[in-house]
Symmetry: C2
Subunit: 195 residues, 2 copies
């Protein structure tokens, strides 16, 4: 199972609280794949939901309601949409050598950002959080400025778009893409036996 998302996406967060356990029930593991949603928006002509009349208001009502249904915390962060580039680069910087830790960092970023309402956009905020996980914050701050790490995020984004991914979250199960946190039920059904 591949899990494509932008850290800035609250629906990504909601799905991220569920996807590992959901796949685990079918003995499957999940590869987390942050990408730059803004690049996909350039391809489709979409804009961030928060910048759209009507849709932004719906999101601000819908996300907390959805979170209550799932039983996960949601606190509206001060900046929406979040500037997610530092978080995404930090993920790939760490993933190179320590994929398990990168996965855990991603979960922690979302727990702080959407779970506790702390803005994890600034590189310093990501570094401080990583520091509390035993990751050298200065190494992280240097790492996310490496040309290879920047390129990695661009490559992952290009690959996602080339595979037709345009929204966050998108779950891909055996090549089958499901867009949206509200499709977790269909992902579960597909894992249980495609229809």
């Amino acid at each position: 199972v591949e899990f494509f998302f932008d850290f800035a996406s609250p629906y990504g967060y909601l799905a991220g609280t569920q996807i590992d356990a959901l796949a685990g029930r079918f003995g499957r593991r999940v590869t987390w794949r942050p990408f730059v949603l803004a690049a996909a928006f350039k391809a489709t002509g979409m804009r961030p939901v928060m910048e759209q009349p009507l849709r932004g208001d719906y999101l601000l009502h819908d996300v907390p309601r959805f979170a209550r249904l799932l039983g996960v915390p949601f606190v509206q962060p001060p900046v929406m949409p979040m500037h997610s580039i530092a978080a995404s680069r930090a993920f790939y910087w760490l993933e190179e050598d320590r994929p398990e830790l990168a996965h855990f960092l991603a979960l922690s970023i979302w727990q702080s950002h959407f779970g506790a309402g702390q803005d994890l956009g600034p590189p310093a905020a990501v570094a401080a959080l990583a520091g509390r996980m035993g990751i050298d914050p200065d190494a992280l701050l240097a790492g996310i400025e490496q040309a290879s790490v920047k390129q990695r995020l661009r490559d992952e984004t290009d690959r996602a778009i080339a595979r037709g991914i345009f929204g966050s979250p998108t779950m891909v199960v055996d090549g089958e893409a499901f867009w949206g946190a509200d499709r977790l039920g269909q992902v579960e059904r597909w894992l249980g036996g495609r229809w």
Copy 2:
């Protein structure tokens, strides 16, 4: 329960095959409310999905897959998006005096359009279908040209947008809006006891 949709919306069709029975399980009736989605798009800046790169391809794969899961027929119509103005006006023309029949006409339009792949965009196609239901096709063709019927559709569209509705389908339960056919499960949960 209010059910807002544009006849051109395949996800509206999918939800429309389920919503009456779903609400009925909780002793509730559904008021169908076609509106002009293009007017909502003007408010939000969205465009029809079929005109968007990546998203159109996803829809053409996702809708038949979703239909199989629900066990309802789907045949891709020759024109997408459908020109839905005649269908929507015919609904309100009929609803004035015969709301039950208007509801049945709406179901029949979708059964033909998305269930059987016949283009129900042209007024003549709507009139012919209505004729097979015992409705005078000439009266319908005259009715959908009445200024009052045209105005009714504009008014219903304005009212929907004023209530924050921007997508098709949107189900409203006791003032709570749920956007998308993939939210039928949440509608069911809400009807069973809000969370």
